[in-house]
Amino acid sequence: MSGKTHVTTTINGERTEFLCEPRQSLLEVLRDELGLTGTKEGCNNGNCGACNVTLNGALVNSCCVLAVETQDAEVRTVEGVAAGDHLHPLQRSFLENAALQCGICTPGFIVAAKALLEKEPDADEARIRHWLAGNLCRCTGYDKIVRAVLDAAAEMRRAPAGA
């Protein structure tokens, strides 16, 4: 049995240290070691997006990243999307558009949509659907999610300074 590795990384802007076994995924460590349970397990094999985080700015399935790989990297989870009490435009838009029903997929969608809009502020419906194809939702049929992302994009283009 391997001993534990000491990892130093940055999560949601804060320097974070943890111990983990090499076999533990980033998803497992976020939820079980660090208590950041906003990131969800839906399939544990990269097919549903419920575990989405960004790693050095890139959208990834945290179930397919080893926690030890985050050494000296920057990780952002759903818990880091709002700025304190101020919801991100995407979060507000999801609420206003009723883009969630059970809410289990919502953290993954928020992280994924944020990654898209930061890269492509003008993303249209087709691009949004393509980008979000790796995030499964079983409740909404995606209609209101896509509308929420379009609305948030419009708001963010109007006020790029921030949430």
């Binding site: 094999n45 990269g46 997006g49 397919c64 080893l66």
Partner: protein, 290 residues
């Protein structure tokens, strides 16, 4: 998931050293989108997980007059994020933007997709069509191998346990050349290909004749197939239905598909023909507008 050791060598020699020491018990971790899932599902046995992403040669992405070098661990997103590469190698972008979804493409690499050697891999037909060369490092030094010889069986490749795929080298596309990749899946994203195909064609300067071609099809045999007979059916022929029909026939004849939960043999053989036609026609279009 089973316990394993994690090592992250900083040089190519170190990496080869790890493989030499541990043999088949060590696996190379690039994007991990296949390997981590397989290890978790007990489909691969791993004692040492060797992360190569800190070895500069595997992360190199270099475009120059000689062609394109893609380090084995370079994520797909970096490839299609490069506008110049996208312009010169659109077929590579076809493949790189179809492997998994966006989340997978942030991590998955062409080298990893190749080494994983799934018969349905979405990059390999394109690598074959583009005539990629595998650059391999081992304890005895470096060697090269044509990509069409790399996969040997489903999930197996020609690397010895102490060898590492370092990068893929693509020749510079000749004038009047074009290439394309397509796959068929039941949904619009996220599926393993039921069948896929890639073709590259070089045309005469007036675009009316095939000079040469390379055609490859996946998911219809134990490994992706390089179908020389299809290329032979095109070379020297006028661009048109007659030659393309013969190439498509050659593809269908070469296919040895199976029936499984993703598709039937008859369906795959049929799709091989459909996709081969579509990629040849798209390659021609790209060659003519290149």
């Amino acid at each position: 998931m089973q316990d394993f050791e994690y090592v992250a060598p900083r040089t190519l020699d170190e990496a080869v050293g790890v493989l030499s020491k541990h043999g088949p018990a060590a696996r190379v971790l690039a994007g991990g989108t296949d390997l981590i899932v397989q290890t978790r599902e007990n489909r691969r046995d791993v004692s040492v997980m060797m992360d190569v992403k800190h070895v500069p040669e595997t992360m190199e992405l270099r475009l120059d007059a000689g062609g394109l070098t893609v380090g084995a661990a370079v994520p797909c997103a970096r490839i299609y994020g490069d506008a110049e590469i996208a312009r010169r190698y659109p077929a590579l972008i076809d493949s790189a933007s179809l492997i998994g979804g966006i989340q997978v493409q942030s991590r998955a690499s062409l080298g990893g997709n190749l080494c994983n050697a799934s018969p349905a891999a979405d990059s390999i037909p394109t690598l074959i069509a583009l005539g990629a060369v595998c650059r391999i490092a081992g304890p005895d030094g470096r060697r090269e191998a044509p990509v069409e010889e790399f996969c040997t069986a489903p999930g197996r490749n020609q690397l010895a346990p102490n060898e590492l795929l370092v990068s893929l080298a693509f020749p510079a596309p000749p004038a009047h050349a074009g290439a394309a990749f397509e796959r068929f899946i039941p949904r619009n994203e996220m599926d393993i290909a039921v069948c896929n195909a890639a073709a590259s064609v070089t045309l005469s300067a007036d675009g009316a004749t095939f000079v040469s071609a390379r055609v490859a099809v996946g998911a219809v045999a134990p490994t992706p197939l390089f179908i020389r007979a299809a290329a032979d059916a095109l070379a020297g022929q006028p661009v048109g239905a007659a030659a393309i029909d013969r190439a498509v026939e050659a593809v269908r004849a070469a296919a040895q598909p199976i029936t499984d939960m993703r598709g039937s043999a008859a369906q795959r053989r049929h799709l091989a023909g459909v996709l081969a036609r579509r990629v040849i026609e798209r390659a021609v279009e790209r060659a003519r507008t290149a």
